[in-house]
């Protein structure tokens, strides 16, 4: 394959989208010297966009109701087709909001201290005897511990069967899967998020997703359920130190011909892990033993 045939080759002149005329952007900036270029760059600061991280997190314009803004450690709106990632302390509360009804939060969780321990979707469905994650559902690792638990859910439309999209899927469905293009794949974005923590494709197990539901029919058909509408949220408790990877991409089974995904709000704030005094700790025998395993690990590590 020659360079010109490679999928990463630079497009020839005239093949770029022309909706935004380059000449117009050019005319907005005076950058003919270092001083003018510096002034031009600095003049761009302080603007607000529809999707951006908010720093400090306590300045978030979308602080969740009932949450002390001073306790926020992460506040961000993820763009459609965007991704984000963060390392969170044990006990942190993590909330996803779907303001438009079209977000789809694909999620991977790792033990931040030993990333070979990671979300195991099979155990997450099998151990609780339940295929559809909702309130109090544990997100389990393959090591018999609770990485996180669903502590709030006003959507009820989620999926742990279909994972996220691959390049092959999006190329077939939309004709394009480039992470910088109009229909990025979830795996392509997970790969970039993982790479920023020294991880690679070996480290990407099956993921799950929030806000776009799928249900299994009696013959096994995976039936599209879709969104519960605008304004729903999901809240998690980090029961271990977590590396969180999030890709906000169209669900694999989304039946719409276009690539439709809305912005995703992410907030996290300081809190305590689920403790022995809470009803959730002993809600089921499986969950109880999972919490015992989790505390056993954390106590030994001094967490």
């Amino acid at each position: 394959m020659t360079t010109a045939e490679s999928s990463t080759a630079v497009p020839q002149h005239g093949r770029y989208p022309t909706r935004q005329a380059p000449a117009r952007a050019r005319d907005l900036h005076l950058t003919d010297s270092v001083r003018s270029a510096r002034d031009d760059a600095r003049a761009q600061g302080g603007q607000a966009g529809a999707w951006m991280p908010y720093l400090p997190a306590s300045d978030s314009p979308y602080c969740p109701p009932g949450v002390d803004a001073a306790a926020l450690v992460w506040a961000e709106t993820v763009a459609p087709g965007g991704y984000t990632h963060k390392v969170l302390a044990r006990g942190t509360r993590l909330r996803f909001d779907d303001p438009s009804g079209d977000a789809c939060a694909h999620l991977l969780l790792f033990n931040a201290l030993e990333p070979v321990e990671r979300l195991n979707v099979a155990d997450t469905q099998k151990v609780p005897w339940q295929a559809y994650p909702s309130q109090d559902h544990p997100l389990l690792s393959g090591d018999g511990r609770v990485l996180a638990v669903v502590s709030g859910d006003s959507s009820g439309r989620h999926d742990a069967f279909c994972g996220t999209t691959t390049d092959a899927w999006n190329e077939r469905k939309y004709g394009d899967a480039r992470p910088e293009g109009p229909s990025p794949s979830g795996r392509g974005l997970f790969l970039k998020a993982a790479a920023k923590h020294g991880l690679s494709r070996r480290d990407l197990p099956p993921s799950l997703s929030f806000f776009q539901g799928v249900r299994v029919e009696p013959d096994g058909t995976l039936a599209w359920q879709g969104s519960a509408g605008a304004g729903t949220h999901v809240e998690l408790v980090a029961e271990m130190p977590l590396l969180v990877l999030v890709a906000n991409v169209a669900h694999p089974l989304d039946p719409r011909p276009g690539y439709v995904v809305g912005p995703l709000r992410v907030h996290a704030w300081r809190g305590a892990p689920t403790g022995p005094g809470e009803p959730r700790f002993t809600a089921t025998p499986e969950l109880h033993r999972a919490y015992l395993n989790t505390i056993d690990y954390c106590e030994a590590r001094g967490l």
Partner: protein, 266 residues
């Protein structure tokens, strides 16, 4: 049913070398003497390139070349064969449950199911199947997850995750390469309210499944040693693995040789 031994009196166990050894190790159960066994035969005609037995509780692996067909025989009936697949040339590309399910739009594995990789590409195709449906939701058992499911008193028992790790190590792979798997001959229904679990199997002695390699595939199997649920009918039995190069059909350009030649020429 296996029980937790509390005494430390040595018991005579069969050894791999063919003798016996007196041991206090609480090893897992082997199949009950006198269990009906049906060793079957390949589901597909062709030249046999491999014919091996997987002992109860043991791991196994082999590379199945493009176009060759692997028949797995459930010799004792309702014996889960936990199974992972890897592109033999690039094991970082491996079997993916969600890609397999989303691509076919169905939660169960049957004849015609294309077993896809983490990149969405075909690794193998189910070309014949003698069980109503095969499972790929239930994952593998392991020492750690067994503590959640049954209690900490079973932590000492063997599990498929242990088998996968041991076999992966022999192939230069490790814990990062173990993902959610297939379970040939295991039955995991999903009910209307999302209730899901391993229930009594639909297989029987001699039932088979056959999968054709769409590229050179490393197949890794754990002959499930689980002693606490019906995934092996509480009676671990052997598996038979038969790989054949299908007999070329006149005028069929998709013969194994043609497929391999095409791949090598790409």
């Amino acid at each position: 049913m296996a029980s937790t031994r509390t005494e430390t009196r040595p018991v005579n166990y069969p050894t791999a070398a063919g003798g016996t050894v007196a041991s206090t190790v609480p090893v897992g159960a082997v199949y009950a003497e006198g269990s009906p066994l049906d060793w079957g035969a390949s589901l597909v005609e062709g030249a046999v390139v491999l014919d091996e037995t997987v002992a109860p509780n043991a791991p196994w692996s082999a590379v199945v070349r493009t176009g060759h067909v692997l028949t797995i025989v459930d010799v004792g009936g309702n014996q889960s064969a936990d199974c992972l697949l890897y592109d033999a040339d690039d094991p970082e590309e491996r079997y993916s449950v969600p890609d397999t399910l989303a691509w076919q739009g169905n939660a169960y594995v049957r004849t015609g199911t294309v077993l896809r990789s983490s990149e969405g590409r075909p690794l193998m195709t189910v070309v014949a199947n003698e069980v109503d449906r095969q499972d790929t939701i239930g994952g593998a058992c392991g020492k750690e997850s067994n503590t959640l499911r049954y209690g900490h008193h079973v932590m000492f028992q063997h599990g498929c995750r242990e088998n996968f790790l041991a076999e992966a190590g022999r192939r230069g792979l490790g814990v990062r390469d173990i993902v959610s798997n297939l379970n040939w001959f295991m039955n995991v229904p999903v009910e209307a309210d999302g209730a899901l679990g391993i229930v009594d199997g639909m297989s029987a002695p001699g039932r088979r499944v056959a999968v054709r390699a769409e590229t050179d595939v490393l197949v890794m199997v754990s002959n499930c040693p689980q002693m606490n649920n019906p995934c092996n009918d509480f009676n671990p039995t052997p598996l038979r693995m038969i790989v054949v190069e299908p007999a070329p059909v006149a005028g069929d350009s998709r013969s194994a040789h043609a497929a391999r030649t095409a791949k090598e020429g790409a």
